[in-house]
């Protein structure tokens, strides 16, 4: 069929923001003990699933491949993606990848996508909730030589072209691009589904391919701390904010608020 899609969705395994997050070790990298599928990447996965379902889903030959690069635990984010409905998973993992910055991450992800072969669409979240740089989608597009559409709040695909809407502060715009393309989506685009019982059972039969660096044709010095183009030389934890004065309104709290602002010279 002409209209089937092969979509790679990038899902990152990130420290859960509900817990205190820490930077550790010589490279000042985030501690990954309590990690989850980045909630911002669920929007990308949902967008991919909706595009595939609109074309008859996996039965009609549409593929939604969840791809995560990260330590062994990252396989859990791939599994959750399969439970939500992705058709297969890829986990790129190698000790040498630890400490990769955006340039090294995008290098590895680009190599893994090339390994998958011809794809129509690469979907990503708007930012990773730990790094928060939003650099990876643009760097990936540059490395793959593809058009990029970032921060899409709507996404339609028709006849080998995509149309998306983007919102900036002073304007909104409609953009078009030929496929294949790299698209990052915002949390406005949809409401991600929860894995249901059927999905959880079905996921057990889906395949997860584990790829090492050599599988994707890279050498250890190209990634990780060694291959990164930036380095963190120091990290200082800021003292957490502490609560100040709390009062209960007794009819004059608005005035007390203004007194406080005046005392702080904020009026």
């Amino acid at each position: 069929m002409e209209d089937t899609l092969k979509i790679v969705v990038l899902v990152k395994h990130v420290p859960d923001a509900q817990f205190d997050r820490h930077l550790n070790g010589e490279g000042h990298t985030a501690d990954r003990d309590e990690s989850i599928l980045s909630e911002l990447d669920e929007y990308a996965l949902e967008a991919a699933l909706q595009l595939a379902e609109a074309r008859g889903g996996s039965k009609a030959g549409n593929q939604v491949i969840a791809l995560s690069m990260g330590p062994s635990g990252a396989v859990n984010s791939v599994k959750k993606s399969l439970q939500m409905g992705a058709t297969e998973g890829i986990h790129v993992t190698d000790e040498a990848l630890a400490g990769s910055d955006a340039a090294a991450t995008s290098l590895a992800l680009a190599a893994a996508i090339r390994h998958v072969g011809q794809v129509d669409l690469v979907l990503t979240g708007m930012a990773s909730t730990d790094g928060e740089t939003s650099l990876v989608p643009a760097q990936l597009a540059e490395r793959l030589g593809l058009p990029q559409v970032t921060f899409a709040s709507t996404l339609e695909v028709d006849g080998g072209r995509l149309t998306a809407r983007r919102d900036a502060d002073t304007f909104s715009e409609t953009v078009e691009a030929p496929l294949p393309a790299v698209v990052s989506v915002t949390d406005q685009i949809n409401e991600p589904r929860y894995p249901n019982f059927k999905g959880i059972i079905a996921a057990k039969r889906k395949s997860i391919t584990t790829l090492s660096l050599s599988d994707i044709g890279l050498s250890p010095d190209q990634v990780g701390f060694a291959g990164s183009w930036t380095a963190i030389s120091s990290a200082e934890e800021r003292p957490p904010r502490t609560a100040g004065t709390i009062i209960t309104d007794e009819g004059d709290a608005g005035i007390k608020l203004v007194d406080f602002l005046a005392a702080q010279k904020l009026l």
């Binding site: 939003s134 490395r143 002073t170 691009a177 120091s234 609560a243 709390i246 309104d249 608005g254 702080q264």
Partner: protein, 317 residues
């Protein structure tokens, strides 16, 4: 002296404060040149001289805005090569970061975003994990690309004006590179209030405003503040999505943040907890927002906000 290149996109009739900040920072790091896309008015050209730029480079093509990012990267890469820049500075807007991202790959240069200050050796300082850590980072590559957060440098003209050399950088027609094309663009109506991301004061409302943002807007106007909101309020359509503060909205760091009817979820805190002073009004004393508030009021927003607005108006006369 290090060569520093500043990218300024569509300056309009006069340079924005954030652009003046970039020019000031560039001059402090070395010999500064500007790569500018879009029309350059006389006022803008005069500012480049006033801020000591040694060269002003413009692209040979005019259609860079019709496509997303890629053609601007091509222009900037050529400008960086022709000036021999060791440091490229851009603003920290989403587009600034994307141009920086792709330029990094094009030039084999490390990219550091959200920078608040830069040392003379090119080390950059930034906060990470929602402001819970301050870090120092440095590019290991010959060229470093930094996107600079607004309001961290005091704009200062050079001691002596320069006479910038004017140059044109040859770039292919933008349509020649694979890029997404902009097919429609609608301007949004300006609110007339200060811009949320660099306002000195932000008054933000949440689900507790229950569909009525009037009290938030009136307090904001009495204080000359920008209006912000939680995602619950923007999702409900009570106020534009542009006002959202937090992980998937804007990150703000004003002198004063007044949080009204917002519980203080982790995603909201991510966008505002580096504010200098936080004031919270919430009727639930157990709300997590009180854990980070310098001044907290357990009370009803519909009582407290209007009373404060009236009192400010009275005091300001």
């Amino acid at each position: 002296m290090a060569k520093v290149l500043v990218f300024i996109d569509n300056p309009g009739s006069a340079l924005k404060k954030s652009s003046l900040e970039l020019l000031t920072l560039a001059r402090s790091l070395g010999d500064s040149a500007v790569a500018v896309n879009g029309d350059v008015s006389d006022a803008v050209a005069a500012s480049f001289a006033e801020y000591g730029a040694s060269a002003v480079l413009r692209p040979s093509a005019q259609d860079l805005d019709e496509y997303l990012v890629a053609p601007k990267v091509t222009f900037l890469a050529a400008a960086a090569e022709s000036t021999g820049a060791a440091i490229v500075l851009l603003d920290n807007s989403p587009e600034g970061k994307e141009i920086a991202a792709r330029l990094g790959i094009r030039l084999g240069a490390g990219v550091i975003t959200d920078v608040v200050s830069v040392d003379s050796d090119g080390s950059a300082h930034k906060a990470v994990l929602a402001g819970s850590y301050n870090t120092t980072c440095k590019a290991k590559t010959p060229v470093s690309i930094l996107t600079i957060k607004a309001n961290n440098v005091v704009p200062e003209p050079a001691a002596a004006h320069s006479t910038p050399e004017q140059g044109t950088v040859d770039v292919p027609a933008a349509g020649a590179v694979p890029a997404a094309r902009v097919t429609a663009r609608e301007q949004k109506v300006a609110s007339g209030r200060p811009d949320l991301t660099d306002a000195r004061i932000v008054v933000a409302g949440g689900r507790g405003m229950d569909g009525n943002f009037g009290p938030v807007e009136e307090l904001a106007d009495a204080l000359g503040a920008a209006v912000g909101a939680s995602r619950a309020a923007t999702d409900a359509g009570w106020i534009s999505h542009d006002a959202q503060v937090g992980q998937t909205g804007k990150t703000v760091s004003p002198q004063l943040y007044i949080s009204a009817g917002i519980s203080g979820a982790i995603q909201q805190k991510a966008g505002m907890q580096t504010s200098k002073v936080i004031v919270a009004v919430n009727k639930d004393a157990e709300s997590p927002v009180f854990e980070i508030a310098d001044f907290g009021i357990v009370g009803d927003v519909f009582d407290v906000l209007p009373q404060a607005t009236a009192e400010i108006k009275k005091r300001k006369g």
